[in-house]
């Protein structure tokens, strides 16, 4: 069960309409290293986690990622909601307009739709937690590149917050991986 709280985890203000920036930021909504992939990956992997600690961590980080998905969606919506068709066309979003108008959609920065092929669940906690750590680093790198591309300081501020969260999640997944490895090392199989 989830309870919706009617607020963002971190406030989102934008300087103004910026279609080009939105076209890049959307990748953290529906791209390979985006927040949708992160949330669905963790919430799905939690069923086969072996310890109290790992089940709690995947549940809770998967939940926080949903809040990040909402933040990224809010950024894209605010940057594009007042765009004219001409402006969308000029920014290379003519194709997006043809398929979705100004609605959000789960795509990467070049328009490829989200796919479950972005994520995996191996059922092996070492393999899954290692994938999760890699996912956090890929998301952090993506936020880095987006910060380099951003020409709106208000959006950059939000991107910095989200980048920082990836670093914290990586740290927590690393601790969980260490504990699972210690647990496996003390178990004797004959």
């Amino acid at each position: 069960m989830w309870i919706y709280e009617k607020r963002l985890e971190y406030p989102v203000c934008v300087t103004g309409k910026n279609i080009r920036l939105a076209k890049w930021v959307i990748t953290q909504y529906g791209g390979p290293d985006g927040e949708l992939a992160a949330s669905l990956r963790y919430l799905n992997q939690r069923y086969s986690m072996p310890t109290e600690e790992t089940r709690a961590l995947l549940n809770d980080i998967g939940t926080e990622e949903l809040a990040h998905l909402e933040i990224v969606g809010t950024i894209v919506h605010k940057l594009t909601k007042d765009a004219s068709v001409e402006e969308l066309k000029a920014a290379g979003l003519g194709g997006h307009y043809a398929d979705h108008d100004r609605a959000l959609f789960y795509t990467d920065a070049t328009g490829n739709p989200w796919t479950a092929a972005y994520i995996q669940a191996k059922g092996d906690p070492i393999a899954d937690l290692t994938e999760d750590m890699a996912a956090e680093q890929k998301a952090r790198a993506t936020y880095n590149w987006l910060i380099n591309l951003s020409d709106d300081p208000l959006v950059t501020d939000v991107l910095r917050f989200l980048r920082e969260r990836e670093i914290v999640h990586f740290q927590r997944f690393g601790e969980a991986l260490n504990h699972v490895q210690e647990l496996f090392a003390t178990k004797k199989f004959y």
Binding site: I3, K6, E9, V12, E52, A56, D60, T74, K78, V168
Partner: protein, 77 residues
Amino acid sequence: MLKRMQELGFVAVELNLYLDTHPNDAKALEQYNLIHHEIRQLQMKMDEQCGPSKGFGHSMNVGNTWQWAEQPWPWEM
């Protein structure tokens, strides 16, 4: 008030994830409960003054109309 709730909520998220991998840290457990009380009090105040902050029965509706749908959504603010 919303900003304060975002600050408190952030501390709670951080403590929650930290406690997931440090479940016996007495200081963090104590801080978590302190934040819980602050969040509860602020939420009651916010719900009274600004309308329901949570759905599915976790906030009260005041008045004769459905405030949950009338109040703006986070992406509209």
